[in-house]
């Protein structure tokens, strides 16, 4: 497979009132063409910061970015605003958790498509309207002709998310970031949107990164999963391998805490006690050590490196489950 997107040793530090806060700590990840990757972690694990920084959305004086992010070999971190803007839409696009705040509330749906279609692709307004209806049909929007004349607040959450997906794919990006695309939606609509994203990825041969806190969401729709914790990738494997041969105690705990329909009724849900590590401090131990049932003195005094189990299954643990 050919490499599309390469993140190498990415580190993002925010300048805050409490001092420097390192949200992403040395993350490396390769995304191949057409591949679907899930990035899973709790609130504050750095998953959203990582994906936004990769898109080039986090910039400015108070954000320190080191490492490298390359799209088709082109370094993104050193691009200026206009240059990175030239890649948005055509090369990479993003959809957000809350489609209501991501869409412009005072413009009709149809006119919001013009920005990408007319300005970016240079279409005439008439062609753009036709293409908008095609795109809305592609995302299985009922009655697209009526929808283009509506304002975002007149649509339901699921329909807004469809509009946003249609906009994101308008210029055929080769990489789509989806940041918690279904968290704000009902479970029935969530299923519809996930099916849709899976179909679109195949149809358009687009690579996709799904960022979520819910392992259940990514299990059926990704090729590989990266588990993030405290700003680091702590486990990275193909989706079947991650579930079948879980190495990190954290991943295991995360899987067990998911309420699922096939669990025995009346069982207590295994919760993960404690809280994630403080992002303003340097990491001198395993970030999960305080919450881990298997932690030893070594875990509390040394920071484990990312280790390869041999088949590309990476983990960050001195004592992986199932042995080394």
């Amino acid at each position: 497979m050919s490499r599309l997107f390469e993140i190498e040793n990415l580190e993002i530090t925010f300048d805050t009132a409490r001092g420097p806060l390192t949200a992403v700590r040395g993350v490396s990840l390769v995304i191949n063409k057409g591949e679907s990757i899930g990035i899973v972690g709790e609130s504050g694990s750095g998953k959203t910061v990582m994906s936004r920084a990769s898109m080039g959305l986090l910039r400015g004086r108070r954000v320190k970015r080191t490492g490298s992010v390359k799209l088709e070999g082109q370094e993104l971190l050193t691009l200026n605003n206009d240059e990175i803007r030239g890649l948005w839409g055509t090369k990479m696009a993003m959809i957000f958790q809350d489609p209501m705040t991501a869409l412009n509330p005072v413009r009709r749906v149809g006119s919001q498509f013009n920005e990408s279609l007319v300005k970016r692709l240079g279409m005439s307004k008439e062609d753009a309207s036709k293409r908008t209806i095609e795109l809305l049909t592609l995302v299985r929007m009922p009655e697209p002709e009526k929808v283009i004349a509506k304002f975002p607040h007149q649509l339901s959450g699921g329909m807004r998310q469809r509009v946003m997906i249609a906009m994101a794919i308008a210029c055929n990006p080769s990489l789509l970031f989806a940041d918690e695309p279904t968290t704000a939606l009902d479970v029935t609509v969530q299923a519809q949107v996930l099916e849709l994203l899976g179909d679109l990825r195949e149809k358009l041969n687009m690579a996709m990164v799904i960022v979520t806190h819910d392992l259940g969401v990514v299990a059926g729709y990704t090729d590989r999963i990266a588990v993030m914790y405290g700003g680091e990738i702590v486990e990275l494997a193909t989706t079947p391998d991650l579930f079948a041969n879980t190495k990190m105690p954290y991943t295991q705990a995360l899987m067990e805490s998911i309420p699922r329909l096939d669990r025995k009724i009346g069982d207590r849900l295994p919760a993960i006690g404690g809280t994630p590590p403080d992002p303003t401090l340097a990491r001198t131990s395993c970030g999960f050590a305080d919450r881990c049932t298997f932690a030893t003195d070594k875990c509390r005094t040394e920071h484990p490196p990312l280790t390869d189990a041999g088949n590309g299954h990476m983990y960050r643990c001195f004592f992986p489950l199932g042995g080394k």
Binding site: V187, L194, A219, G220, T239, R260, L261, I265, L269
Partner: protein, 329 residues
């Protein structure tokens, strides 16, 4: 869905909560009335957890607010601990409130940001003149400990210093201060991380045992409610479609809507894929609900009968009830 009927109500002598034919209406922009809750009946016996699940807009939160008389109900009756509360006004209703408390989805905004945690939890006790100052303080510490917070550490802090999960613990402690009989939880975990969800659900279970509570649990997520519920009510467009035990609901749902809900729940297991009966479209508007069964416009088994006649809740044995003309086998 749904349907009407009271076949699922039990003949217990004194249920903690008994709701009959409750109707809650909102005024629409054109002056018409919209029935958000359209004739719902349910009961909760002592120590029971009853959950209400359904999609956004099915009326589940309105039902919770209607039961607690936080919004006016158009008709129907709500009996809590033997007292009919829909007719109560002003001070009489206020006197009934200590028995029924509520926790909300957005715990951070339901706590006054200017008050210290200890003051927040003490407030209901002060309002009702319960105990001396020393007794109240001891009670606050006790409540904080029972929800897993260290009184020494948290008492003097303010809600903004806490995470969503911790704020939800504080709201639970506050809701339990008056030792209510009925605790209504409106989506208490849906804005929390999965790992934290489990902590809060476990605390609710512990509190239920410790204080002999009955819970009314509102959620859109079947997988969350099934581990903690004794009975689950499925709502669609203001009416009840199915009442069943958690086991029935997840293994052999009888209503086609419940089946769609169950199969929409993502399974954290990549080997079990493509099992889904994905429901197409979205619920119709409740300003103009379909005739007969309200689910028929999205139902794979709908017939003419469904358009003409509203299904009533029928006893399917084993404590399960379904309102459907053509239930799944």
């Amino acid at each position: 869905m749904a349907g009407s009927g009271k076949a699922h109500l039990r003949n217990t002598a004194d249920p903690v909560l008994r709701v009959e034919d409750l109707v809650v209406e909102y005024g629409a922009a054109n002056g018409e009335k919209v029935q958000a809750v359209s004739g719902v009946s349910l009961d909760i016996i002592a120590g029971e957890t009853l959950s209400v699940v359904g999609e956004s807009g099915c009326g589940k939160s309105t039902l919770a607010k209607g039961i607690l008389q936080l919004i006016a109900t158009a008709s129907g009756s709500v009996v809590i601990n033997g007292q009919e509360i829909t007719k109560l006004k002003g001070n009489e209703l206020r006197e009934a409130r200590p028995n029924m408390q509520m926790i909300f989805q957005d715990s951070i905004s339901s706590l006054d940001p200017h008050m210290k945690v200890s003051a927040l939890i003490e407030q209901p006790l002060k309002v009702w003149n319960r105990g001396t100052e020393a007794e109240r303080k001891a009670k606050v510490n006790d409540l904080l400990q029972s929800v897993g917070l260290d009184p020494e550490v948290v008492s003097q802090r303010k809600p903004t210093e806490f995470s969503g999960g911790q704020c939800q613990r504080i709201s639970i402690a506050r809701a339990l201060a008056l030792e209510p009989k009925l605790l209504v939880c409106d989506e208490p975990v849906s804005s929390l991380d999965v790992s934290i969800q489990a902590q809060i659900l476990n605390i609710l279970q512990d509190m239920k045992e410790r204080y002999g509570l009955s819970l009314l649990f509102i959620s859109h997520d079947l997988s969350v409610v099934r581990t903690i519920s004794d009975r689950i009510v499925v709502m669609y467009l203001g009416k009840i479609c199915e009442v069943a035990t958690p086991a029935t609901l997840s293994e052999k749902p009888r209503h086609h809507y419940t089946h769609a809900l169950v199969s929409s729940v993502p399974i954290p297991d990549p080997t079990k894929k493509n099992r889904r009966a994905v429901l197409q479209g979205e619920p119709p508007s409740s300003t103009n609900p379909p005739s007969g069964c309200r689910f028929r416009t999205r139902c794979p088994a709908a017939t003419e009968l469904c358009a003409n006649e509203e299904p009533q809740l029928r006893d399917m044995g084993g404590g399960d009830f379904v309102a459907c003309h053509h239930p799944r086998a």
